[in-house]
């Protein structure tokens, strides 16, 4: 098996195509584990994984927790509401406290971009980024890649359109990074308030003001959740206008390539990003994404902490 280049997974940068392929291949095997009557293997027995979540995210946290448990690791959840973090403990002090508990991996979700990098600098164990600010959500991009490969048989040479709030989306960033690295033609689309001027340059993708050119003959459409708070920031006048101008309709779906699929990281706003009934369209792979999430996270935990890893000195 191809080793990962770092003992952490902080972002897509640093992963080469062969690493991505290795992770996806490994996830194939773990997908099978989740479908067995007894969904547990002893691979990570005796290992400890701490889920450190500074933002609420039931689905991602549950996915990581299941992944760890199905590998027989001890998974512990630390969420902000039940810890001293709320009392103002700094991330540095939290890192030192975690260090003393000797975990093998810490999975962190944090509202600040770069928080996982910070944690990785101060911890000996593996750090897995479960979403940091607007920066990255690498396991989401990997599970999306897994879903795409499983549906379309390949993860290169595809036209992919990512629609919605690109500016604030760590999912968009990690997907752009991964999909361009794997040799796909990536397009982003949304109102200019939600696509930073330098986004094309930063990620080597094409930006559009209209859905039509982005969706024309696309193999994959990825819809992003529109957050209500964008309305108060003068980024959008109303959800109704967004749905009218950037919501995906059946007519638009007909422009896609014949076997195209529709992805959404969830939770979906039916009637905003997509016409209400289209969310259940046969092209939708939303539930496959959820299933892939557990398998990909199992693969990553296995690859990062499954083999004997030398520890590094924290700073």
């Amino acid at each position: 098996m191809s080793q990962l280049p770092s003992r952490d997974l902080l972002e897509i940068d640093g992963l080469e195509p062969q690493h991505v392929t290795a992770i996806l291949d490994s996830a194939e095997a773990f997908l099978e584990v989740s479908r067995r009557p007894v969904r547990k293997v002893p691979t990570l027995r005796g290992k400890t994984v701490i889920n450190l979540f500074y933002e609420n995210s039931t689905r991602t946290r549950t996915s990581f927790e299941l992944a760890a448990k199905r590998l027989s690791a001890d998974a512990v959840n630390m969420s902000v509401a039940t810890s001293s973090i709320k009392k103002g403990e700094s991330l540095y002090d939290t890192a030192k406290t975690l260090e003393a508990m000797h975990p093998d991996a810490v999975v962190i979700r944090h509202p600040e971009s770069g928080a996982p990098h910070f944690l990785a600098r101060h911890l000996r164990c593996a750090v897995i980024n479960a979403g940091d600010g607007m920066h990255a959500h690498p396991t989401q991009a990997l599970l999306d890649a897994f879903t795409i490969r499983k549906s379309l048989g390949r993860i290169s040479g595809l036209k992919v359109a990512i629609c919605g709030d690109i500016a604030h989306s760590r999912v968009a960033r990690s997907n752009c990074a991964l999909l361009t690295r794997m040799g796909n033609d990536v397009h982003v689309v949304g109102p200019r308030t939600l696509i930073p001027p330098d986004f094309e340059k930063a990620f080597g993708v094409t930006a559009h003001d209209r859905l039509e050119p982005a969706l024309q003959d696309a193999d994959v459409v990825m819809l992003l959740r529109i957050q209500r708070e964008r309305l108060g920031e003068a980024l959008l006048p109303s959800l109704r206008e967004y749905a009218r101008t950037f919501g995906v309709s059946r007519a638009l779906l007909d422009r896609l390539a014949p076997n195209a699929i529709v992805l959404h990281p969830g939770p979906m706003n039916r009637g905003v990003e997509i016409e209400p009934e289209l969310a259940d369209d046969k092209r939708s792979r939303v539930l496959d994404q959820v299933e892939a999430g557990v398998a990909v996270r199992m693969a990553l935990l296995y690859m990062l902490i499954g083999e004997s890893q030398s520890s590094r000195a924290p700073t």
């Binding site: 700094s90 991330l91 540095y92 600040e112 770069g114 600010g133 330098d198």
Partner: protein, 405 residues
């Protein structure tokens, strides 16, 4: 009498004795300094000494000693302390305390508005009488153009210098670095150049409207320098400075969220950095100011966006600038001017200097930046652990040696 052998003079014209030594009135000292440069005492237009309120980061004693060790004979102290220096009584106390320190000369700035709240003017005449060399709201822009107009008119009544951090706060709210491909990649909120450049344009117009002296602090954009250049050609009484960080680094140096590079204004593109270098070389930029901003470890040892902005620079300004002279980015004469005559002119000093102040610089002196070698109480600099070349070996204030390496 101070006798210095083997050094040569840059921007000074002191007598030389029969043995070839440069003679300076003052303490009794004789030393050899082959290849060193004797320059007018360096003047730092902008630094944060943190007293009162944040003494764990720095205080008058450590700050003025660190400044002297960095070659600065005089330091303009920003008023953004806790509480802010917005009245004459506090200025007097600070001057009194600073006078006891064997270090750089203390030149306080007072606040432009009370409590730096941007609402009411301070008693500027009282601040000046107490020892302030100018007024500014430090890192906070006086964003209300009508208030800036009145502040400049009132300051001009008493011939008081106004220093402004030019920024449109609405356009930069919540931002932590330069807006560009790097901020997009890192997922950090970026401040567009327009947040500074539009404020520079507006503030120059207000300076011209009032006829007052306006100093624009720590410019970060090439377009800002262009505006200052045009204003000067029209005869506007506008001056500006740049920090050594903005001459040396770019937004790419933020790298993987290195909080040492979280500074305000943010580090910008290589094109901006190059335009700032040209501005120093052609004299459009009047001064290089350290913008020394000490923070304790706990304030910097945080994820990027929540780390306190600023880096220390009293002791690293010379090695940073000397490296830029060495690689041809900056002209030596321009740097010496921007650290001495330039800021003296901004402050309106008679004779364009403090006559008894000198700095002796050894451009080859190698040393390592470390917690042990730094006099500052804080160590928030990306240079930490690096071996550098160039240092002040003697700093003289009114003939008195306040630092000797």
């Amino acid at each position: 009498m101070i006798r210095i052998h083997g050094a040569y003079q840059l921007g000074t014209s002191l007598e030389i004795d029969e043995a070839g030594a440069i003679l300076i009135e003052g303490d009794d000292l004789e030393l050899r300094a082959d290849g060193a440069w004797l320059v007018p005492g360096l003047i730092d237009l902008r630094a944060h000494l943190r007293e009162p309120g944040d003494e764990p980061a720095e205080d008058l004693e450590s700050g003025l000693q660190a400044a002297a060790a960095g070659g600065f004979a005089s330091v303009c102290a920003m008023p953004g302390t806790r509480p802010p220096n917005d009245d004459g009584a506090l200025t007097e106390i600070l001057c009194h305390r600073a006078a006891k320190v064997r270090g750089a000369r203390f030149l306080p700035f007072g606040c432009m508005t009370q409590g730096m709240r941007g609402e009411e003017l301070t008693q500027m005449e009282e601040l000046k009488a107490a020892g302030c060399v100018g007024v500014t709201d430090d890192h906070r822009p006086v964003a209300d153009p009508a208030l800036l107009r009145r502040a400049m008119e009132y300051a001009e009544t008493f011939d008081i210098l106004v220093m402004q951090h030019a920024e449109l706060p609405e356009l930069s709210a919540g931002t932590v670095m330069h807006e560009g491909p790097n901020s997009v990649r890192l997922g950090l909120r970026g401040s567009p150049r327009a947040a500074e450049v539009a404020a520079v344009a507006r503030d120059i117009q207000i300076a011209e409207l009032t006829g007052g002296r306006l100093h624009l602090a720590h410019l970060s954009c090439g377009a800002s320098v262009e505006l200052v250049k045009n204003a000067k050609e029209r005869g506007a009484r506008v001056t500006c400075d740049v920090s050594p960080h903005h001459l040396a680094y770019t937004d790419a140096d933020v790298g993987a969220y290195d909080s040492n590079f979280r500074i305000v204004p943010p580090l910008r593109s290589p094109e901006d950095r190059d335009a700032l270098r040209r501005g120093v070389n052609d004299g459009t930029i009047d001064a290089i100011a350290s913008d020394h901003a000490p923070h304790p470890d706990i304030a910097k040892r945080r994820p990027f966006a929540s780390a306190a902005p600023g880096m220390i620079s009293f002791e690293t300004t010379l090695p940073v600038l000397l490296a830029l002279i060495e690689d041809g980015s900056l002209r030596r004469e321009a740097v010496v001017r921007a650290l001495s005559v330039g800021p003296a002119r901004v402050l309106g000093l008679p004779g364009e200097r403090f006559a008894g102040d000198f700095t002796l610089i050894d451009p080859r002196c190698a040393w390592t930046v470390s917690r042990e070698s730094l006099r500052s109480k804080s160590a928030n600099t990306p240079m930490l652990g690096r071996e550098v070349r160039g240092a002040a070996i003697l700093t003289i204030v009114e003939g008195q040696v306040v630092f000797q390496r």
